[in-house]
C-alpha cells in the first residue's frame, strides 16, 4: 500500500489502481465518464481531473485521475478552485454538442452528465453556434439503439467489447467533430452481452430497446435480487413500476460472481415475471389465482384450506408418492419439500432440464437450474424431464412443487400421463392435464424471499420486488401445511 494525501487526509492507496479509485475508496467524489472500474482507463473525457501538488518549488499540476497511478507521498486535492475550474471547462466542452433532451432521454435521473451539470454546470450555454445534427435513432442490433447526438465519445462501449467480451464490435468512426460511434461495416451488434452497453453509457446515447420510454427511472423501485436464468446467479436489481410490473432487470456489482455485467437472457427474462392473472373465477388462461381442484367440469377454483385437506387425504390413500421440485425452488422451499418427502417416505428429486446452448466463457453457465448446487447439497436427486415423466407414468401419486415445474417437465409429455395418477401441483400456472387433480398457486421468484446457491457455492439472495397476487401464499408455508396435514392423517387409510 502507498501512502498519499487526499484533500488533506492521509490515506493508504493500492498502487496498482489509478488515483480515481483511491479517491472513490475514500468517499471523495470525483466525476467520471470515460473511466469505468471494469474497463481499461483511456482518459478521453478529462472530467476526472484533480490537482496534484508538484515537487518543492514547482507549481501544482492538474491530472486526469483515471490515468494517473498512485505514487508515494502524492498530495491530491479534488476541491480546489483550480481543479473545479478545469473540470467545469471540460464539462462545457462536453455539453457543447449535447442536446437538451433530458425530458425525453431515458437516462435522465441516473445520468452522470446530468448530475454533474446540475451540480457544477452553468445555467446557460455560451456558444452561439448550432449543435451537431446527427442521427437520433440508430439501431445497433436487436437490443441497443444509439442516439449519436447525445454521445460524448467516452468510448466505454467500445472498450466493453474489447476488454470484457473480447470481441471488438464497436469503434469511433470519423475524425474531430465528425466522430461517431458505429459498428464495423454497419453490421448489427451480436452476442449475449449487448444490454450492458445501456448500463455503462454515462449519458443516454445507448439505450435499451426493450426499456425505451417504458418508465422514468426515479419512479422505479429497486429490489436487490438474484437472476434465475442460469446457475451463475448474477446479482441483479429488479426494478418495478408502481409495485405492479417489473420494468427492468439490471446487474449490480458483485466482485465474486458477475462483476458489473449480466447477459441479455437474464436481463430480458421479464415474460415469466409479468404473466397476467387468469380471468376471475377461472383456472386456466393465465396465472393461477387460487387453489384449484378437479371437479366434474375439469379444474375448478377452490378454497385453499379445503384443497389442502383433499390433497393430504389423496396422497395418504395413494402411497408411493413421487416428490419432484422445480430447479427454481429456494433453499427454504427445498427444506419444506424435504420434510414433505420424509412424511411421504419419498426420495426428493428436482427437474433438471438439459444444458442449453447459451453457455459462454463470461457468465452464462448454460445450466437452466439456478439452485442446482443448493438442491444437490440438500440431498435432492437430479432428474431429467424425460426420466421424470417415465417415473410419473408408473407412480400412484405425485407432488410437483415450484415455479414453472410443469413447464419444465413439458406440457406435451404431462398430457400423456395416465388419468389414474393422483397429481398435486404447486405452480404459477395450472395446465389442462387429465391427471392434474389439485393445483396450488405459488409466487414467482421476484415475489418471494429466499436463497439460491450458485454454481460456485455462493449464496444468492432473493427479495420481494412485487407483492404476490392476493391469495397466493409462499410455497414453503404451503408445503409445511401439507406436511402437517399428512402427519395428522393415518397413513395408508
Amino acid at each position: 500500500m502507498t501512502k498519499i494525501q487526499i484533500n488533506g487526509r492521509e490515506v493508504e492507496a493500492d498502487p496498482k489502481q489509478p488515483l480515481i479509485r483511491a479517491c472513490h475508496d475514500q468517499g471523495v467524489d470525483v466525476p467520471m465518464y470515460c473511466y469505468h472500474p471494469g474497463l481499461a482507463p483511456v482518459g478521453s473525457c478529462r472530467i476526472c481531473q484533480v490537482e496534484v501538488a508538484g515537487a518543492p518549488g514547482q507549481p501544482s499540476r492538474v491530472v486526469a485521475a483515471c490515468r494517473t497511478p498512485v505514487s508515494e507521498g502524492m498530495v491530491v486535492s479534488t476541491d480546489t478552485p483550480k481543479a473545479h475550474d478545469t473540470r467545469r471547462e471540460c464539462l462545457e466542452f462536453l455539453l457543447k454538442n449535447h442536446p437538451l433532451d433530458c425530458p425525453i432521454c431515458d437516462k435522465a435521473g441516473e445520468c452522470d452528465l446530468q448530475d454533474y451539470a446540475f451540480n457544477e454546470g452553468q445555467g446557460k450555454g455560451r456558444s452561439s453556434e448550432p449543435r451537431r445534427k446527427l442521427e437520433k435513432r440508430k439501431s445497433l442490433g436487436d437490443v441497443i439503439v444509439l442516439d449519436e447526438e447525445r454521445c460524448i465519445l467516452c468510448s466505454r462501449c467500445v472498450r466493453f467489447f474489447t476488454d470484457v467480451t473480447k470481441k471488438a464490435q464497436l469503434t469511433v468512426e470519423g475524425l474531430g467533430s465528425h466522430s461517431v460511434i458505429n459498428t464495423y461495416m454497419d453490421k448489427p451488434l451480436e452476442g449475449n452481452y449487448q444490454g450492458n452497453l445501456a448500463d455503462i453509457c454515462p449519458v443516454g446515447a445507448l439505450t435499451s430497446k426493450k426499456f425505451r420510454f417504458q418508465a422514468r427511472v426515479w419512479n422505479l423501485s429497486k429490489t436487490l435480487s438474484t437472476c434465475g436464468e442460469c446457475s451463475r446467479g448474477c446479482s441483479i436489481s429488479v426494478e418495478s413500476l408502481r409495485a405492479k410490473q417489473v420494468k427492468r432487470i439490471r446487474p449490480r456489482y458483485n466482485a465474486a460472481v458477475n462483476q458489473w455485467w449480466m447477459c441479455d437472457t437474464g436481463r430480458h427474462a421479464l415474460a415469466p415475471l409479468t404473466r397476467a392473472l387468469a380471468p376471475e373465477g377461472e383456472v386456466l388462461g393465465g396465472r393461477l389465482r387460487t387453489a384449484a381442484v378437479r371437479g366434474y367440469n375439469g379444474l375448478e377454483c377452490s378454497d385453499d384450506v379445503a384443497a389442502l385437506d383433499l390433497a393430504a387425504d389423496m396422497l395418504a390413500s395413494h402411497p408411493g408418492t413421487l416428490v419432484i421440485v422445480s430447479p427454481f425452488a429456494t433453499q427454504e422451499e427445498a427444506k419444506a419439500a424435504l420434510a414433505l418427502a420424509q412424511a411421504l417416505k419419498a426420495t426428493p428429486q428436482f427437474v433438471s432440464p438439459a444444458p442449453n446452448a447459451l453457455k459462454d466463457d463470461l457468465l452464462h453457465t448454460g445450466d437452466p437450474c439456478p439452485n442446482r448446487r443448493g438442491l444437490l447439497e440438500l440431498g435432492f436427486g437430479a432428474l431429467a424431464p424425460a426420466d421424470a415423466l417415465a417415473a410419473l407414468a408408473v407412480a400412484p401419486s405425485a407432488v410437483l412443487a415450484g415455479e414453472r415445474v410443469l413447464e419444465l417437465l413439458g406440457h406435451a409429455g404431462l398430457a400423456l400421463l395416465p388419468k389414474k395418477l393422483r397429481l398435486v401441483a404447486f405452480d404459477v400456472e395450472a395446465s389442462d392435464l387429465a391427471s392434474l387433480d389439485i393445483a396450488f398457486p405459488v409466487p414467482t421468484h421476484v415475489e418471494k424471499s429466499g436463497h439460491w446457491i450458485n454454481v460456485d457455492g455462493r449464496v444468492g439472495v432473493l427479495n420481494v420486488a412485487l407483492p404476490p397476487p392476493a391469495l397466493v401464499r409462499r410455497l414453503d408455508l404451503q408445503l409445511a401445511a401439507l406436511t402437517a396435514k399428512l402427519s395428522a392423517v393415518p397413513q395408508g387409510s
Binding site: 433530458c102 425530458p103 425525453i104 435522465a108 437520433k136 435513432r137 425505451r212 420510454f213 417504458q214 418508465a215 422514468r216 426515479w218 419512479n219
Partner: protein, 170 residues
C-alpha cells in the same frame, strides 16, 4: 352583568301595519333594481388569465400533443394526482404519453405542474366545474385533458409575461 335597555316602541310601531308597509316598500323597490345574485349554472363566474382552474394539456397547432411524458409534473404534484406512462412515437420528439391521467378529486389546483413543465404542455385552464356520478369518471384521461392551444392562449401569454418579469429581475 350587562343590562340591555329595551327601546320603548312608538305608537306607529305599536300599530304594526305602518311598519309592515315600510318593509314591503323596500321589497318592491328591490324588484326594479339590478339583482346582485347570479343564476349560477346558466351564468358562470367570469374568469380571466389569473384564474387557476383545472390543468389541461396543450395540443399544438399541428395536431400533436406538446407533452413528451417526461414526468416532471408527476414529480412536482404535491397531491400525487398525476400518473403518466410514456411510449415511443414516430415523430421527431420520439416520446409521447400513452396514458396521462389526472385524478381531479386529488388535484388541488396549485399549478405546480404548469410551473414544472419544461415543454409548455400543461397549463391551468379556466375550467373549474367538477361533477360526476362516479369517482372513476373524475380521473381524467388523455382525451378529456387535451385542449387546443388557442383555448389556453390567454393563460399561456400570462404565464410567459409573469416568467419574463421574474427573469429580468435576475
Amino acid at each position: 352583568m350587562v343590562v340591555v335597555q329595551r327601546k320603548e316602541l312608538t305608537l306607529a310601531e305599536r300599530l304594526y301595519l305602518p311598519e309592515v308597509l315600510r318593509g314591503l316598500s323596500l321589497t318592491f323597490r328591490k324588484f326594479f333594481e339590478k339583482p346582485i345574485t347570479r343564476q349560477y349554472p346558466e351564468q358562470p363566474l367570469p374568469t380571466d388569465e389569473v384564474t387557476r382552474g383545472q390543468p389541461r394539456l396543450v395540443v399544438k397547432d399541428d395536431g400533436n400533443i406538446a407533452c413528451v411524458s417526461c414526468g416532471m409534473c408527476e414529480v412536482a404534484c404535491p397531491a400525487y394526482a398525476i400518473t403518466i406512462d410514456g411510449g415511443e412515437t414516430d415523430r421527431g420528439i420520439e416520446r409521447e404519453p400513452k396514458r396521462f391521467e389526472i385524478d381531479m378529486l386529488r388535484c388541488i389546483l396549485c399549478g405546480f405542474c404548469e410551473e414544472a413543465c419544461p415543454k409548455d404542455a400543461i397549463f391551468m385552464s379556466n375550467e373549474l366545474e367538477l361533477a360526476d356520478f362516479t369517482r372513476a369518471g373524475l380521473v381524467y384521461d388523455l382525451e378529456k385533458l387535451k385542449r387546443p392551444k388557442s383555448a389556453l392562449q390567454e393563460r399561456i401569454d400570462y404565464v410567459y409575461r409573469l416568467n419574463n418579469r421574474w427573469r429580468s429581475k435576475q
